[in-house]
């Protein structure tokens, strides 16, 4: 037996230690998001009980884990946490040492089964940070975005009285950014509102001519003309629409064109703010890159699930087509987004394109570099953007509408926190982006909320009262975008409100559903007026620029967000959309996802979109000379007004 030299051994140990240190550091980092007892098959290896444990999927298997890796998994471990004070006391009793600290009782702030010491002067939001609970917010915790609503399950008496900005809340609800812990002897428990928005997905693929980039030739798989793999039984591609709020991912068999799996989920970047500008500034801070990471991680999680459910291998996924507004797309590709946040709002890719350094704004990068869960040689195609904030999602939407072949003048309105308007036909197209803000999407309006269970989606006024329909037929909690449009139109129809938003009989507010305390105030009307005005400006300035009147618009395509649920007659009455007769208004669902799919299935579609985006002229609304006058006019709740033409009469 040969002996070992001490110095050789020390060298080996040093190497091993450094390897293991990296492992331990990664394990600690990962344990913040993913339960360490969960193995690579998402099975549970813990010897203790946990609420996330589920029955094994097959005999001789471990239980599987139902946690979604989003919040701290520790809360699910079945334990009965004693209160901090008690624990501390027990420790003191068992230890003979004298205590150093004072015996001040310390209260706890609880979330689910986790808790942390309550600190007076700190808000619930601060405590949530301590507990690593992600509370949505987009206003820098100033109380204006209304996203951080929490339910206080106990200990309301320990909190500061509701502030002025919280007056839209009642009962046990508070804004996490406003509610301060004031008393140190009462425990507080809070929970988040669970919101699962109605998510719009592609409706109908229509017939798309199959001509994908990835093809099978004999036993080989080719990307264009490069052999990239040997055939494994399938060739899949994925179309991804990265919205600011919602992501839609569709897995498609590239040999048949058949959809294999459709998934939609909330954009996990919400903690960085709910609109793109907030996310851009978040990405400038110390957590730069975090938003990209969370996006890819979440998508990888979805892909794993798809692979698992379909029993396919990730190696059979060869291509991704990604569409999104400029910010979302650049974040997906891990590019610096700072230039999109400042004048002239151009991404670096667009600047390079404009200065002639590249000949397209589309992107093609290996999936491996983005750490996407797919074949090693898979590629990611990012659809070209139009200009500034008007991104590849709008371009994809136009592709889906077959804009390149439209001979008549059509108008495309994609409604959202940031609305986009495009007008034109195959030979001339103009586009603009209008920052409407979140008033129609749940923000700013006292009882506004996103389109999820409990939201009033339609309103009628009959015999002196409001008749409301709620999503999910549950107890009404607020009003979503389509409900707000209905409400405004009903108030106008029954002369309960002037076009300027003044209520009849000098009322300060209307009781919409008195038994649930849901009201609608003048202030709400004014927030909606401004959001509506942004949409109004986009449409009217573009129509003017194009030299067209509403009655000359052959089709008005409404896409995105809550648009599919909007009553178009009422939307026209309050001037939310141009006065186009209802039979010419077409709701097209998630056009962006549909366009992404076309690009995935057809090289020809990619050529079309490149030609299309080059043709589109971008209009910067704010630079229009009379922008302010148009905006003020747009704040009124009445049909859009076209001075050059007698007012368009709406059919009743």
């Amino acid at each position: 037996m040969k002996k070992i030299d001490q110095s050789d051994y020390d060298r080996s140990v040093a190497r091993l230690s450094s390897l293991l240190s990296d492992i331990a550091v990664h394990a600690q980092e990962q344990s913040k998001m993913r339960c360490p007892y969960k193995n690579r098959l998402d099975q549970c290896t813990a010897k203790f009980g946990c609420r996330n444990k589920r029955k094994p999927r097959a005999k001789d298997q471990l239980p599987w884990c139902a946690s979604d890796d989003k919040l701290d998994y520790r809360s699910a471990w079945e334990t009965e946490p004693d209160e901090y004070v008690q624990v501390r006391d027990t420790i003191r009793k068992t230890v003979s040492r004298p205590c150093k600290n004072s015996d001040q009782p310390m209260s706890q702030v609880w979330y689910d089964r986790q808790h942390c010491p309550g600190q007076t002067g700190k808000t619930i939001f601060d405590h949530a940070d301590d507990l690593r609970v992600r509370v949505p917010s987009s206003c820098g915790r100033s109380g204006h975005c209304h996203e951080c609503v929490v339910e206080i399950k106990r200990g309301m008496e320990a909190l500061s009285p509701p502030s002025e900005v919280e007056n839209f809340l009642h009962g046990q609800y508070r804004l996490a950014c406003q509610a301060c812990v004031e008393k140190s002897d009462v425990d507080v428990e809070f929970s988040l509102l669970l919101r699962t928005p109605k998510i719009l997905t592609a409706q109908d693929h229509g017939v798309i001519e199959l001509d994908p980039v990835v093809t099978r030739r004999g036993d080989d798989v080719y990307y264009h003309d490069d052999q990239i793999d040997t055939y494994r039984g399938h060739i899949y591609g994925m179309a991804v629409d990265v919205g600011t709020t919602t992501i839609v991912a569709e897995l498609v068999d590239l040999e048949t064109g058949q959809s294999a799996y459709l998934s939609s989920f909330e954009n996990p970047q919400r903690f960085g703010g709910s609109d793109v500008m907030r996310r851009i500034s978040y990405d400038a801070g110390e957590f730069q890159g975090e938003l990209h990471k969370v996006l890819i991680n979440t998508l990888n999680g979805e892909i794993r699930q798809m692979c698992d459910k379909l029993s396919i291998s990730r190696h059979e996924i060869y291509e991704f087509v990604v569409v999104g507004n400029s910010t979302m797309r650049e974040m997906f590709f891990n590019h610096d987004v700072q230039s999109i946040g400042q004048m002239p709002y151009k991404s670096q890719v667009e600047e390079q394109y404009l200065s002639g350094q590249r000949n397209t704004t589309s992107l093609t990068e290996p999936a491996r570099g983005l750490r996407l869960w797919a074949n090693r040689r898979a590629q990611v195609f990012g659809a070209p953007i139009i200009a500034s904030h008007v991104g590849g999602d709008v371009a994809a939407g136009l592709l889906a509408m077959d804009m390149a072949r439209q001979t008549e003048v059509v108008m495309f309105v994609d409604v959202g926190t940031n609305s986009e308007v495009v007008i034109g036909h195959k030979d001339r197209l103009i586009a603009a982006s209008c920052p409407a803000g979140p008033a129609f999407e749940g923000g700013l309006v006292r009882f506004g909320m996103p389109g999820c269970d409990g939201a009033i989606e339609s309103v009628r006024y009959r015999d002196g009262r409001f008749i409301c329909q709620t999503i999910g037929q549950t107890e009404p909690r607020g009003i979503c975008g389509s409900g707000l449009i209905d409400l405004l139109a009903e108030l106008r129809r029954h002369d309960l409100m002037t076009p300027k938003g003044v209520f009849a009989d000098k009322a300060k507010h209307f009781d919409i559903i008195p038994e649930h305390g849901i009201t609608f105030s003048r202030n709400d009307a004014s927030e909606l007026a401004q959001a509506k005005a942004a949409n109004y400006c986009g449409q009217i300035i573009l129509m003017r620029k194009f030299g067209i009147r509403p009655d000359q618009v052959a089709k008005l395509y409404l896409a995105g967000g809550f648009a599919n649920y909007v009553d178009s007659v009422r939307a026209v009455e309050i001037g939310f959309i141009a006065p186009v007769s209802p039979d010419r208004i077409v709701k097209i669902g998630n056009a962006a996802a549909q366009g992404a799919l076309q690009m995935l299935l057809s090289k020809h579609a990619r050529q079309s979109i490149e030609r299309l985006v080059r043709k589109i002229e971008h209009v910067e609304l704010e630079t229009t000379a009379d922008f302010f006058e148009v905006f003020v006019e747009g704040c009124q709740f009445k049909p859009m007004h076209f001075p050059s033409q007698p007012r368009h009469q709406e059919p009743k």
């Binding site: 040969k2 070992i4 080996s12 293991l20 492992i23 331990a24 990664h26 334990t79 624990v87």
Partner: protein
């Protein structure tokens, strides 16, 4: 520059092909394996696979065949862990898989240890580790043990739900100067203090140093309950153990 095809072991080739995506790293690993004998590659494969039976028999056989213990460590056991580390970093495998690989490495190291002592190389210290009474959460403790062993410590693992008596018995039997306790629940945390108390009652407190850790444990708690040191994570655990061993506790 070595090629992937220079590696004889098919499993290793597949692992590299499938999981190592960074070009520079890939070349480094290929070079590392290509210079190793097939026997060493087989050992590495058993580590990557987390198969402790194979790593046990293969290591034993290699040493019997006269392969250098240093070569077995470097080209077999550590080379295997190098791939495990990359797979873990890239989220192809997770903590439970890593711990299985660490267990396989330990099975191999067991055959290296007699050679170490024959060469006059002593472990840098002996540590007793366990989660306290009532606590079944052992993953943090297991990571600590992996780190300690990797750094050259001899570790006696008492597992989970360890009563004060079990700790006392182990200290007496193994004459270990350091005891590491972990607790993950606020409810079981006091049992750390109780264990230290039991050592005081048994008149053994001066013979050992206590290090503690676990999510709810803070340096203040550690101090309150009378522990000698606190470690925030598995990396710190090794530093703390080295400090305690060096601080002159009885061996």
């Amino acid at each position: 520059m070595a090629q992937l095809s220079d590696i004889a072991n098919e499993f290793v080739r597949q692992e590299i092909e499938e999981f190592i995506e960074r070009e520079d790293e890939r070349q480094h690993i290929i070079d590392l394996y290509a210079k190793a004998s097939q026997q060493m590659q087989d050992i590495a494969a058993s580590i990557i696979d987390g198969d402790n039976d194979s790593s046990d028999s293969l290591t034993s056989k290699a040493l019997d065949d006269g392969v250098d213990a240093t070569t077995v460590m470097d080209d077999g056991l550590i080379a295997g862990m190098a791939i495990v580390g990359i797979k873990f970093r890239e989220n192809f495998i997770f903590v439970p898989e890593v711990l299985a690989c660490a267990r396989a490495m330990k099975a191999g190291m067991a055959h290296v240890e007699p050679i170490l002592s024959a060469s006059g190389i002593k472990p840098i210290g002996k540590v007793i580790m366990g989660t306290v009474k009532g606590d079944l959460h052992d993953i943090g403790k297991n990571l600590c043990i992996m780190m300690l062993r990797g750094a050259g410590f001899e570790v006696i693992d008492l597992g989970v739900d360890t009563s004060p008596d079990d700790f006392i018995e182990a200290v007496e039997e193994h004459e270990a100067p350091v005891v590491g306790m972990s607790a993950l629940l606020t409810t079981t945390m006091p049992n750390m203090g109780k264990t230290i108390d039991a050592f005081i009652d048994a008149d053994l407190r001066d013979d050992v140093k206590f290090m503690v850790g676990g999510a709810p444990v803070t340096p203040e708690f550690a101090d309150d309950m009378g522990a000698d040191a606190y470690g925030d994570n598995a990396v710190e655990c090794v530093d703390v153990a080295k400090l305690l061993v060096g601080s002159g506790a009885k061996v």
